[in-house]
Amino acid sequence: MYHKEKSIQIKNSASALYNNLSVLRIAPRRLTYFTVVHANVVNMVSASWDGLNYSHRQLQSKEPNVATSTSLIMQAAFCVLPSRELLVITSQKGIQMYESDGSIMVYWHALDTPETPSEVNYVPAQAVFARGISAVWENYICVGVSSGSILVFDVPSKGSNITLSEVLEEHKESITDIASECSGSQQCIADLVSADDGGNLCVWKSGEEFQLLNKIPGFDMSCSSVKLWKGTVVAGYGTGQIRLYEAVTGILHAEVNAHARWIYSLDIAPFSGLLLSAAEDSLVRVWHLTVSQETNSVEVAHLHNECVTDTQICGARFCDGDGYAFAVTGYDLSEIIRYTQT
C-alpha cells in the first residue's frame, strides 16, 4: 500500500520525545517543512516537492534576554490558524513562538518555576517543562505544562501582541499532548482534547472562555499522543493500546492492542480518515477510521504495517490531508523517512 521514498537527512539525530516530528505543507510554494527536536536544538528542513531542494535551519531554545541560558526542548509543532501559521517550541524554560519558517521569534513565555530556596543550584524534585501544543478555533494556541495546567494564548492575526488569555486547571498530572478537531466539521461541539501522564483526557469547547465538556478517566498509564476527529477522541497509551472514545459522552467505541511497546505518536489524515500510529517497537501502522451510519459510532480497521528496523520511533506524521504520504523518524536517527501510497 505504501512504499519507501528517498529519506531526508537532518543535521542532528532525533531525541526520544513524544510526537517528535512536525510537518507543514506550504502549497503555494510547493514546499513542506519538517521539524525534529535534538536535545536543545530544533532541526528544521524545508523540502521542495520535486525532491531537488532541501534547506536546513537550526533553532536553539534560548531565552531572549539571557544569552547563556539554554535548556532541553520537549516538543516543536506547527500551529495553523486561519490567519497565520506559527512554529511553537516548548522547553524546560518556556514557550517560544516563531514565524512558521523559523526566521523570527514573535513571542516568548517563561514558565513559572516553583519557589526557589536560597540555594543557588536548587532543582525542584518535580521536573518543569511545557509539552503538548495545539492551535484551536480562530485565534488560540494551547500549550500544556508539567504541572497539569494548560496555557491558552490569544494570537492576533498578525504582529507579536500575543497574550496569555486563560489557564485551564483540570489535569493533575503532566500534560503529554493536546489536539484540536481536525475534520474541519462545524457540527462537533467539542473542539479540543488534552491528555496527561495518568492517561486522563479532558474534552473542551474553545471560546473566549474555554468550557470543560467531559473528563475521561485514565488507568494510571500515560496517554502519550491524542487526536480528535469527527467528535471521536483517538488516544495512544504506554501499554501500546489505542482507544477510541466519543468525545462528549466518553463512551468507549473501540480498543486496539496496537503495539508491543510504548506508543509515541498518532496522526490522522482528516479527509480520508486514515490513522497513523508509531511506537518504540519500531513499527508504524496505518488504520482506517469510518463513521458507521447505523450506530453513529467510529469503526477501525487495520490497513498496513511498516517496520523501521532497529529504530524506536518517536515521530510519525501524514504529509497531506488525504494520507497519501507519511514521514517517520526515530531515536538516534539523523533522517526523516518518507512513505508514499502506491
Partner: protein, 381 residues
C-alpha cells in the same frame, strides 16, 4: 528533564564498571587479597554516605565530561591504577552497556529492575564484609524510597533523559557484536519478537463496543512480529527475582572484555557530532556542583606505594599504547586528569582541582536557574 536521573545513571554505570574490573582482575591473575581490596575500596567509595546524599538530591544530569571525571576518580579509589587508554576503554564499555540496557528494557519502569540487578551483583561482591554490606543495603533503601512510587510517565521521562545523555554514542563492543545484539554500524538490534512488557497485550486484536459497552466486533490483524505474552513483573523489593536479565553480569572468563573502537569508521564519525561547540559559560557552575559531589568521594590512602598495581583493559601493553595513539579525537572525553603515580601526589592534585572548582564557582553568576547545566550535558562526547 527528570531531576531524578543521576542516581540511576551513577549506580548502573558503577555496576558495569565493577563487572569489568572484576573480570580484568581475574584475567590478569592479580592476587586474591589485592583484587578483593580493590573491589571493596571502590564499592565503599561508591556508596559513601555523604556522596550518596549529594547524589540523591534532585538535580540535572552532569555533562559527559563531568561524569567521566567522577568515574575516573572512582576507578582510582584503591591501589589499582589504569592508564588513560584503559580508562577510556573501561568508560566506553560501561556507557555502551548501560545504553543497551536503557534502550532494550521492555518498559521504562524496568530501568529500576536493571538497577536492582546491578545492586544485587554488588551486594554479592561484598557479601563477606558486613560493614560494606550495610552501605549497600542503605542504598537499596534509598532507591526503593525514591523510585518505587513513581508513575510510569515519570519513569518514561527518566528514560528519555538517559537516552538524550547517550544519544549519538555508537561505539562497537565485541561482546555485543558476537551476541548479534549490535550491528556493525554501532546501532543496537531491536527485536520484533519475544515477550511484550508486563501490562501490555500482544498486538493483533481490535475490539469494538456498542453504546452500552457490549463487545460487538472482534477483529484480528497481522502484527508484523512474533510476540509472546508478557512475563510476570519483577521484584521491586530488596530481594527477589528481577525477571529481566538486563543489568546482570555478562562477562566471564570465557567471555572476556573487549572493544572495537569504531571512531575510525566513517559511519560512526558521522554519528558522533558535537551538539554545541561554543564554550559553555555555565560549565564553571557545573564544576562547582561536581566538586561538591566529589567532596563526598573519599579516597583511601594506601599507605604503602609498593602494594599498588596497574590493570590493563587490553590484551597487551602494546595494544594499550596503540589504542591511546589511534583513539579518534571525537571520542576523546577531555577528562580532567586526576591520575598520578603516588597517592599523596594524587591527593595534592585533587586538592588543587577542588580549589579551582571552588574558585571558579565563586566567579559564576549566582542568578542561575535550574536546568542550566543541561547545556553542558550536550558537551562533547
Amino acid at each position: 528533564m527528570s531531576s531524578r536521573t543521576l542516581p540511576l545513571l551513577f549506580i548502573n554505570l558503577g555496576g558495569e564498571m565493577l563487572y569489568i574490573l572484576d573480570q580484568r582482575l581475574r584475567a590478569q591473575n592479580i592476587p586474591a587479597d589485592k583484587a578483593k581490596k580493590v573491589m571493596n575500596d571502590i564499592i565503599t567509595t561508591m556508596f559513601n554516605k555523604k556522596f550518596l546524599e549529594e547524589l540523591f538530591k534532585p538535580q540535572e544530569l552532569y555533562s559527559k565530561k563531568a561524569l567521566r571525571t567522577v568515574f575516573d576518580r572512582l576507578a582510582h579509589a584503591s591501589i589499582m591504577r589504569l592508564n588513560q587508554a584503559s580508562m577510556d576503554k573501561l568508560y566506553d564499555l560501561m556507557t555502551m552497556a548501560f545504553k543497551y540496557q536503557v534502550l532494550l528494557c521492555l518498559r521504562p519502569k524496568d530501568i529500576l529492575l536493571v538497577s536492582f540487578n546491578h545492586m544485587d551483583a554488588i551486594k554479592d561482591f561484598v557479601k563477606d564484609t558486613p560493614s560494606i554490606l550495610s552501605l549497600v543495603d542503605e542504598t537499596y533503601r534509598q532507591l526503593i524510597e525514591m523510585y518505587t512510587s513513581l508513575s510510569h510517565g515519570e519513569f518514561q521521562l527518566i528514560r528519555q533523559t538517559l537516552l538524550i545523555f547517550f544519544q549519538d554514542m555508537h561505539i562497537r563492543v565485541s561482546i555485543f557484536l558476537k551476541d548479534k545484539v549490535q550491528n556493525s554500524n554501532g546501532r543496537f538490534v531491536l527485536p520484533t519478537s519475544g515477550p511484550v512488557p508486563h501490562g501490555t497485550q500482544v498486538p493483533g486484536l481490535i475490539r469494538m463496543f456498542s453504546c452500552t459497552g457490549e463487545e460487538v466486533t472482534r477483529l484480528q490483524f497481522n502484527n508484523g512480529g512474533n510476540y509472546t505474552a508478557g512475563l510476570r513483573e519483577g521484584s521491586f523489593e530488596m530481594f527477589g527475582d528481577r525477571v529481566t536479565k538486563l543489568g546482570t553480569n555478562m562477562y566471564s572468563v570465557s567471555r572476556p572484555v573487549e572493544t572495537h573502537m569504531s571512531g575510525t569508521s566513517k559511519s560512526s564519525a558521522q554519528h558522533t557530532k558535537q551538539v554545541n561547540t561554543a564554550p559553555n559559560p555555565l560549565a564553571k557552575e557545573e564544576l562547582n556542583l561536581l566538586a561538591k559531589l566529589m567532596g563526598g568521594l573519599e579516597v583511601q590512602k594506601t599507605g604503602n606505594a609498593d602494594s599498588g598495581f596497574r590493570v590493563n583493559l587490553f590484551a597487551t601493553d602494546e595494544e594499550e599504547e596503540e589504542a591511546l595513539i589511534t583513539r579518534p579525537d571525537e571520542l576523546s572525553y577531555g577528562v580532567i586528569n586526576i591520575q598520578a603515580t603516588k597517592d599523596h601526589q594524587a591527593n595534592a592534585e585533587l586538592a588543587k582541582i577542588m580549589g579551582e572548582f571552588t574558585e571558579s564557582g565563586h566567579q559564576s553568576p549566582s542568578a542561575s536557574s535550574k536546568g542550566d547545566d543541561l547545556l553542558a550535558m550536550m558537551d562533547g562526547l
